[in-house]
Amino acid sequence: MRKLALPDEILLSIQQPARYIGGEVNMCVKDPESVDIRFCMCFPDVYEIGMSHLGLQILYDMFNKMDGVYCERVFSPWTDLDQRMRKEQIPLFALESQDPVRNFDFLGITLQYEMCYTNILQILELSRIPLHSVDRTWDDPIVIGGGPCAYNPEPLADFFDLFYIGEGETVYADLLNTYKVSRAGNDSRDAFLKKAAQIPGIYVPSLYEVQYNGDGTIRSFLPSCPEAPKTVIRQVVTEMTDSVYPEKPLVPFIKVTQDRVVLEIMRGCIRGCRFCQAGMIYRPVREKNVERLKELAWQMLKNTGHEEISLSSLSSSDYRSLEEIVNFLIEQFQGKGVNISLPSLRIDAFSLDVMSKVQDVKKSSLTFAPEAGTQRLRDVINKGLSEEEILNGAFEAFQGGWNRVKLYFMLGLPTETTEDIEGIALLSEKIAERYYEIPKDQRTGKVQVVASTSFFVPKPFTPFQWAPMSTKEEFLGKARIVNHKMKEMLNHKSLKYNWHEADVTVLEGVLARGDRRVSKVIEEAYRNGALYDAWSEAFRNEIWMNAFETCGVDIGFYTSRERNLDEIFPWDFIDTGISRDFLKREWERARDGVVTPNCREHCSGCGVRQFGGGVCYEDTN
């Protein structure tokens, strides 16, 4: 029997012991003694969330296909186990070998959302790794961060030795090799970090110095040694089809959030919505060859036994072989107990036809993401979805038997007016009215329109990186306007409106565009008990507010402040390949309400053509 780090007494008295035992189908087993490098991959949230993340499965597979490398996993212990581990002095361990995380060469932490930052400190502390990079020795793993939040790693700068900027499939082999050579040559830890800094895409925060102006903005952000480059270039996979992909993904014993085969059909998005960070940092759009996808679908379903397969991309309707892959999946797998799920599809005749084949119309609902309530504001954010398209799509769906619609909006977008806010209720009403245009004998019951709003957080490397964010009070005021307007609507009984508290949004705003000075707030909040901030049942806003107070950090400086066009941002040392001029141009066009065509209609010269692949070269093949 595999050894376990936790005794039965603990495993049998906590929730979901299966989170901590490993041993899942397709888990990689290697002899830790026989490898050169032990890499511990961490998703700093609970197992069920972390195991649902595609990126982790891709990198796990990639590392374990390398000779001499053993990649294992660790997730945040839930609060019940957290307490037991502290009380009984049990160090945090990896799932595969159940060995302490501290024994590893690398601890790689994926940064998917800002509200997991206190969980990172929990991982470090339970692993007995010093929280601050500067306090670590060769007795500690190299702590490296990657993922979308690494595009502004500065609030975490003190806690990480390295950051990987860009897609993980490209330079990890170089980094691991550099490490091997460094260790064999008895390099100091600092010497290794300096060598790592010379690998494209690797950022070593301790090798940079930041100076500030009197008003708190950055005066200079410069390398403090010749080894560190002035800018760090984002890593991009140029050929998706041949890129590494897990044919044998791990199959958890317990039900995880994404309990299915996930087929990544394409990376990036051609649409260029101005609020969307993913739409910028995953440029250019790169499609995976449809024949490769068919092969992967077979293998992955066979190797996991999952009963569902889902397509993954930022905008599946823009995948040019969508019809072919969808029809293939339906022909091959439907009727064999395999469900097919198709998220992020635009509502049109094709998608309605497909959806009616793969799901029960009576039970499913239709989803639109207009993001803004008026055409004017949709033009500002460059959301290429017109009211006519929404209403026609909904009408066609109603005729097809659907009667439930979900709508997603954002509040607090740049230039937003009361008219835009009320437009959310008006658009919801128009959709409901469309339903009642269908003759009564052809309707299936009542229509239900559920509108949800989230609060807009400006993100780095988007045209809105300069935009001031609304305050908590403004956000809640806007939500009240929508709620009030909804109640005035003729069909208000068919409309439902959901919104959230704004506390978490404010924090997300600080962390998203924060700098190095914010890290002490994170540490202070963690020390006072902040953990699992992404979980509403665990989130405690007062801890954070006290931490800002104690550390003398002003929330408004990071959130609601108007930023100057030539301000130096904490993330400006990263070169994503998208030019700052393009972002500025888009910010100006946004304020003028001018739409920018998508990448396939017309190239807007964002700069990513330099990577030599994807949509930028589609017509030249």
Binding site: G23, V25, I254, E307, K363
Partner: protein
């Protein structure tokens, strides 16, 4: 075609609860390409049922599940195919065809065999050192009336008629054959708890390692028990 599968669930698999074990087997059927039957409708599910749920923390050496298939290779081949896709800790022991119209495993369950041992660290001190001889004596001569907590409240019950067999194991442990199934289901923990209570000792759930050895139907008649292993209802597919 109805199939009865016998399997063992050992090691770290004891932390996987009943619902997750069901999901585990559903996925395993697909990995092994078993030609299993699905129910009709928009969300078809596999025709599969388990004999008796095994509590989290317990291991089993003779667990059962029934499935329905359209077609099947020989028992030998199917056992091999399934074992190739199992996680560590689960082993398929037999794969047998049931006669048409056979009752499902769950409805047949009448008794289970258990072995109970003490976990390391509990076995050499005080009360625990002579735990099993004491328990043996208790089952033989003691008062086995307990108060069983049910959904409707508390209920007085005498365990004795439902302890079908008991004996000391040579390597410090106890064998128990207890009534199981839908009419009277006696978990071994009930007996252990009753003994601790009678001795004025606090019951310690983590002190015991419990393995369910086998599951039986009762094929006897007129008040006489005749316990038959569930796998005996099926026959090997050649």
């Amino acid at each position: 075609m109805k199939i009865r599968i016998k399997f063992s669930k050992q090691g770290t698999m004891k932390f996987i609860g009943h619902l997750d074990s069901m999901r585990y087997f559903q996925k395993a059927m697909r990995r092994a390409d078993v030609d299993i039957r699905y129910s009709e409708g928009f969300s078809p599910h596999q025709i599969m049922s388990f004999a008796a749920p095994l509590g989290v923390g317990l291991t089993g050496s003779g667990e059962y599940l029934d499935i329905e298939v359209h077609s099947s290779d020989s028992s030998r081949v199917m056992v091999k195919r399934l074992n190739e896709v199992m996680a560590e800790g689960v082993e398929i022991l037999s794969f047998r065809r049931l006669p048409d119209g056979a009752a499902n495993a769950m409805s047949l369950v009448a008794a289970c065999d258990y072995t109970v041992r003490l976990r390391e660290g509990y076995d050499n001190c005080g009360f625990w050192r002579d735990f099993f001889p004491g328990l043996n004596d208790f089952i033989q001569n003691g008062n086995l009336e307990i108060v069983k907590k049910t959904k409707k409240g508390e209920k007085q019950m005498d365990l004795r008629p439902f302890v079908y067999e008991y004996r000391l194991l040579e390597d410090r442990g106890m064998f128990l054959k207890l009534s199981a199934g839908s009419s009277v289901n006696i978990k071994p923990e009930l007996l252990l708890e009753a003994y601790c209570l009678a001795k004025g000792q606090e019951y310690q759930p983590f002190a015991f390692l419990i393995n369910r050895e086998e599951v039986y139907a009762d094929t006897g008649s007129e008040g006489s028990h005749q316990f038959t292993k569930l796998e005996a209802f099926g026959e090997e597919i050649e």
